[in-house]
């Protein structure tokens, strides 16, 4: 059986873990606290591949129909049940 790499899928945009310094810059730019960012669960398949920790900020580079490319940020959390 072949190895499946979901990060290559066209529906999965690029996820990048931000360094502490960049993380502060992002929070400063948008003038928000960490918990105000959109979230991503630690059990998310892409996060498992990236090996991110709780509290890391993930930069997501989305393909956008209107802007061409757009940036989005999510903070890794424990995840919640619906």
């Amino acid at each position: 059986m072949k190895h499946l790499d979901i990060t290559k899928h066209e529906f999965v945009p690029k996820h990048i873990i931000l360094s502490e310094k960049k993380k502060e810059e992002v929070l400063k730019e948008y003038k928000i606290k960490l918990k105000q960012l959109p979230r991503i669960s630690i059990s998310d398949p892409v996060i498992k591949i990236l090996n991110a920790k709780i509290g890391d900020v993930i930069k997501i580079i989305r393909k956008s129909e209107t802007a061409g490319e757009s940036e989005y940020y999510r903070v890794v959390t424990r995840g919640e049940k619906v």
């Binding site: 059986m1 072949k2 499946l4 790499d5 979901i6 290559k8 899928h9 066209e10 529906f11 999965v12 945009p13 996820h15 959109p38 979230r39 991503i40 669960s41 998310d44 398949p45 892409v46 996060i47 997501i60 989305r62 956008s64 129909e65 209107t66 802007a67 061409g68 490319e69 757009s70 999510r74 959390t77 995840g79 919640e80 049940k81 619906v82």
Partner: protein, 377 residues
Amino acid sequence: MSEELQTSYLDKIQLPKKMIEEIEKVRKEKKLNKSEKKKFEDEVKRQYLKAKFEPGEAVGIVTAQSVSEPATQMTMRTFHFAGTAGIRVAYGLPRLIEIFDAKKVTETPMMTIYLRKEFDNAKNVKKIAESIINKKVLNLIGKISLDLSENTIEIVIIDKKRVEMIVKSIKENFKNVLVKIKTNKIVVSPKVELGIKELQKLKEKVLQTHVYGIEGISNTLVRREGDEWILNTMGSNLEKVLLMNEVDEKRTITNDIHEVMKILGVEAARNIIMKEALKTLQEQGLDVDIRHIMLISDIMTLRGNIRSIGRYGVAGAKTSILTRAAFEETIKHLVKASVRKDVDNLEGIFENVMIGQVIPSGTGMFDLIAKFEEEEK
């Protein structure tokens, strides 16, 4: 603003990638020099600022109206047949409700399978289409009967090529039975003596045994789009299909939002919500701007999982007690809040409308905070 101030302000604006590309395209076409390009770019930036929503604009209301007005024109309770082979696909209003309510079970799950280049030909496509349909013992045999005197189950086979496969899968799934082949019959005999009831139960279990194919997929339809072959399936099992050698794992996708969320993550789920909602609206000839759908899918995936729009999702998770009470289940929310001694900080829109205060939206969103220097001396 003086002109000098204005231009330096424009320098700080970051245009989206698409606009930068288009500016470059125009520059090449019109052969603009450096100062002309700068002038042009500044004008684009000015227009871009004008087109942007201002802080405090109630975009949610605009989205709600822009999506729900066209939705009133949608066909109710209808199904759509993809191709002549008849793969039934939910569409129209039921599908739109299904997407926004984030229903756990999709009514008509469907996959779109793309094949790798080396397998992309008519012969292979048919073979793959046949091989992924889930087949149980039930689908492959002619007759099944109980022999009570011998305490065995007899299975009559039509297609002799499949005999070994069936025998193998029964042997794998049941440990306490002996399986023999007699001319055109398979005889299953339990190792221990069983009563009639238990034998009947065993028969049902044998019938439901998986032989080959992919679980969950009940039918396939081969389609040609452009210059490649595409497989549509009824039923969905993204993980197993993506792991198949012949499948292009970069493009193959399902319409089941929760399955995408589980296997490809929350960002892919956002994309699939957008794609499916837009497709459902466009199928009906409704032209809804993609930005509205973007906002909805962003809100649905904000917390890292999929929340529905409604009582148990986005609306139920609002912080204000009064807003929740005004929406649905009034008594439940009010009682819960009073028992727990909750406080409503009146930060949202609805609760301020109820009380008759200025709503925190538009110009009402901003307060003036003055910093007085402490009087010395």
